[in-house]
Amino acid sequence: MQELRIHGRGGQGSVTAAELIAVAAFEGGKYVQAFPAFGVERRGAPVQAFVRFSDRPIRLRSQVYEPDFVIVQDPSLIRDVDVFKGMEAGGIAIINTERPIEHPVPAGVRVLTIDATTIALETLGLPITNTALMGAFAAATGMVSFETLVDALRHRFSGSLAEKNIETTRRAYDVMKAAAEAT
């Protein structure tokens, strides 16, 4: 079983990202479970959402403490929250930032950064980075395919909103694919 923890702030769509990644991974043939850290929906407050992936039905109901993957939607969170907590060697952290990460990182954890805010502003006209980071997650980890993410987005959104988010996801996917292959 593999586990993903998404860090964001209330209103950034972390829970939606977890749901869409789970829907995509399920379509890709995996058993999945997606859920939020309960009860902290205040706008702007640090929030977390989780996804589990497995080849077998998932029975475990505790929160995620030792994630294989972490997505950080807002770089300012790194000051407030230990976003790398519980990560071990081989883990992958995907961070939305335009600057290098100066915070200490656990040994063996691969940190991949992407300027998702700029991508979202250019495609959506809003600094909502969740769908960009879904694309980055797919490119960096291979846990979901780009195609299944597109299906999940079309299922959730309709019309131009769907198309804009698909474009956001695609651009971030391409950027991260190139970055991941370069490192």
């Binding site: 399920f26 999945v32 479970q33 997606a34 859920f35 309960f38 009860g39 475990l60 505790s62």
Partner: protein, 390 residues
Amino acid sequence: MALEIMEGSIAVAQAVRRCRPQVVSAYPITPQTHIVEALAEIVANGELAADYITVESEFSALSACVGAVAAGSRAYSATTSQGLALMFEVCFNMAGMRLPLVMTIANRALGAPLSIWNDQQDSISLRDAGWLQLYAEDNQEAVDLHYIGYKVAEDHRVLLPAMVCFDGFILSHTYEPVNMLSQEEVDAFLPPFVPKYRLDAASPVSMGMYATPDYYLEFRYETDQAQKRALEVLREVGKEFGERFGRDYSELVESYQMEDAETALVAMGSICGTTKDAIDEMRTEGKKVGLVRLRSFRPFPSEDLKAALAGVTRVAVLDKNITLGAGGATARGAVALEVRDALYGSTIPVLDYIIGLGGRDVRIEDIKKVVALCEAGEGDRFYGLRTEVL
């Protein structure tokens, strides 16, 4: 078996739609809200031919259901925590009037202090109201128990309302795969409600009359008898469900890794999933541990539980509730009291652990620690107390 992925609350709302209630009345409350929002949309979209009665409180919501069922309709409601507490009086009336209903409980702690998070204190506190109480381990079971719940509740041998309990947030807000039966499959399994008695101006009856001391005791006896008959009806309907759809619910207690178990855990609800994973890990470490999961708390399957626990060395009960003041100097939850009652006369020690109250997360290592405590003979206490804040 085709699986779809959706949030637990949405899966429950879709299952309720397939049960074709004619009246829905509920008041939104976290973490039940997504269920009733989804049902309001389903009714507004014309996907369910029901009257959706909006009300100002849970007391009125369940009262509307009492009237609807008394008039011969299939009705539905959902609530949790303080909302269920506000229904207290109506709950007793509904069971005493022998009006069948399914009500979803998205289990949540009761205040004070205010907590929106999960435990099972809310439904447990309605233990003596006369309702059937079924507890789901996962969203598939939560969905299926709605179909089964209506069929059992409306059976003329039972005629009692039923709570389908699933853990708030832990299940209600989780996306996971479920198999949704088609409308045709549900229609074949669950025929329309046929009331034994109903309010009808052409053939008047009175319901909910007062009973003098000459009659009240007999009413309570008959309600208790209906609970006892529900044990067999639950098994029968659960078996039929399994034969039709491949998911068997004929057992009111589920035994997991119990064949040679020395330590048996007993629990209900979603904590059982984590417990099963913990048991698998402990088994690889050579520990003979198993789980007996209760699917039905009311009626309580005492004989089934006794049979499942025969031969174990010790029992550890995980209680997501606390019966405050019970147990003398020690702590007791409602499940442990039932387990001790079922095992009365045996020498098997039953140790209780009050765990996961108010949303405190329960991890695999917590279950392992409970087993270690039980093996050391230490129990009947709160588990995981933060003594530094006491």
